[in-house]
């Protein structure tokens, strides 16, 4: 059993479609400086650093060396991880593992991406097997459209259900000064936006952003000393799926289902809908905000549309999801899942500003990527 670990500081950039004022290293420095300020630490307090992004989005393969000044990593141990869309939760998990191991007291975890530097869809296509699926079935939008299409047919979900999720997340982003896209949007606006790939429309889908996020993990002893109200890590779970898109189960989300089941077991959660106060979920498309609710055990398979229509996950609902505006409002890919962790930590710490949910004791955050992989963390106000 590892040491207990708390999050003691979070920082993120002001994200945008194009941050022409800042290189990747400057984005990293902005997020790291803000995290240090948030925790009231200096770089001298940091014992180890974990960093992650997707190499092919910037065509830079040694961020761990090239960004040393922005990371503050000179003469410190640095660990680079990259796992596609889940990079942010993997960076978070790796920061947590470092601190929990007892080998490092205070660990800085950094995710970043400068999506404006390349053609994101072309770069994403390289995640598919080049001798099999890259040509006939690649990119981000098509596969997500395919899975929701099947869910609609199986359970009677509608395009309006996903549009409702899109409007919810996009309007939530109005309360988040860091979000890239902040626009008041109605369900009608979403339904009337251009069709990208049936049933996914323009306003259902995430953008690509420039940005970075930094989260500071500390073991129990240090966290108690350095932070008045740490967000304690109750568990961190990762699950990967099959090799080929064609192998996947499309009616539900198996890695999310298995990862959350294991996480709930570890954290002693029996009724997730009741026990969580807030969730920051990596929903790359509003359709996932319908279908994947089943796989988080909030309801039976096919039960999500009813909850969505009831407003269960709205800011004033039973379990607010994505007060930050979520991924469809902001998506610097290597940072995206770490932003979920950082936002959830701020909700516990009471630092979420205008998007704060009152009195948060337990928060759920997830990362999604690759061939439908899941990285997932549960944070709490009380020690695990």
């Amino acid at each position: 059993m590892g040491k207990r670990v708390g999050i003691i500081g979070v920082g993120q950039t002001h994200h945008a479609a194009k941050r022409l004022d800042a290189s990747g290293v400057e984005l990293i420095a902005e997020a790291v400086t803000r995290a240090l300020d948030d925790a009231q630490l200096t770089m001298a307090d940091i014992d180890a650093i974990v960093v992650g992004n997707m190499d092919h989005f910037e065509n830079i393969n040694y961020v761990d060396g090239w960004a040393v000044d922005g990371l503050g990593a000179c003469m410190k141990p640095v660990f680079k991880v990259t796992t596609g869309g889940t990079t942010g939760t993997t960076v978070g998990a790796c920061g947590y593992y470092h601190a929990a191991s007892g080998l490092f007291d205070v660990v800085l975890a950094v995710g970043w991406e400068k999506n404006s530097e390349s053609d994101t869809q072309a770069a994403i296509a390289t995640c598919a097997n080049p001798t099999l699926e890259r040509d006939p079935f690649a990119g981000a939008i098509g596969p997500l459209a395919t899975e929701y299409s099947m869910y609609m047919k199986a359970f009677g979900a509608t395009e309006e259900d996903s549009a409702r999720v899109a409007a919810r997340d996009r309007n939530n982003a109005l309360n988040n000064p860091y979000a890239h896209s902040r626009q008041a949007v109605t369900v009608e606006d979403v339904l009337n936006s251009p069709m990208l790939s049936y049933p996914v429309k323009f306003l259902d889908m995430c953008p690509r952003s420039d940005g970075a996020c930094a989260v500071i993990f500390a073991n129990e002893e240090k966290a108690k000393k350095l932070c008045p109200k740490p967000a304690w890590v109750h568990c961190s779970v990762v699950r990967h799926d099959y090799t080929h898109f064609g192998d996947l189960e499309w009616k539900f989300m198996p890695t999310l289902e298995r990862a959350s089941a294991e996480a709930y077991r570890l954290a002693g959660i029996t009724n997730p809908l009741k026990e969580f106060d807030v969730a920051e979920l990596y929903l790359p498309c509003s359709t996932c905000g319908v279908k994947w609710m089943d796989s988080l055990w909030f309801c039976e398979h096919g039960g999500a549309p009813k909850l969505i229509r009831k407003g269960t996950f709205d800011m004033d609902g039973q379990l607010p999801i994505n007060p930050s505006g979520g991924v469809i409002s902001c998506n610097p890919i290597g940072a995206t899942a770490l932003i979920r962790v950082g936002e959830a930590a701020w909700q516990i710490m009471g630092k979420a500003g205008d998007r704060q949910v009152p009195n948060v004791k337990k928060a759920l955050c997830t990362g999604f990527g690759g061939c439908s992989w899941t990285g997932l963390m549960i944070l709490g106000a009380d020690l695990p």
Binding site: E26, D69, G72, E117, A122, T126
Partner: protein, 154 residues
Amino acid sequence: MPSWKDDVEVLVDEGKISVPYSWTVGSTLSRFYCELRDNGKIWGNRCPSCGKVFVPPKIKCIDCYEDLRDWVMLPGTGTVETYTVVRYQEPVLHPRKAPFVYGVIKLDGADTGMVHFIGGVDPEEVKVGMRVEAVIEGEREGNILDIKHFRPIK
């Protein structure tokens, strides 16, 4: 090895990925390149805490993690710390044809070295410790090749 493998013609799928990139130079390096392009001058930035001067400029002090807001103009002269004579053809992207010389030049007023070409001299005559000066291109575009090379000070 299963016997059926003997009868298989193994295939290789030839591919080529060409993704265009446009890299953000960033505020720090943009300032360095604009000074070079517009005024033909080399600038560095100094750490307010330890006083170290970085050329090319850095985002943060490597030792102190301080912002480097103090900018200093350097005379463009320096000393060759080390070098090599390249005699093979570099890949297509490389701007120079062999043989050419490159090395590390410690600029006067800087605490860090800078890598660049050493030219205007026979490769055989380049020496460690040689005093050199920057040769600035006449037509400048705002990148590192606005410095043509460093040549010996006569």
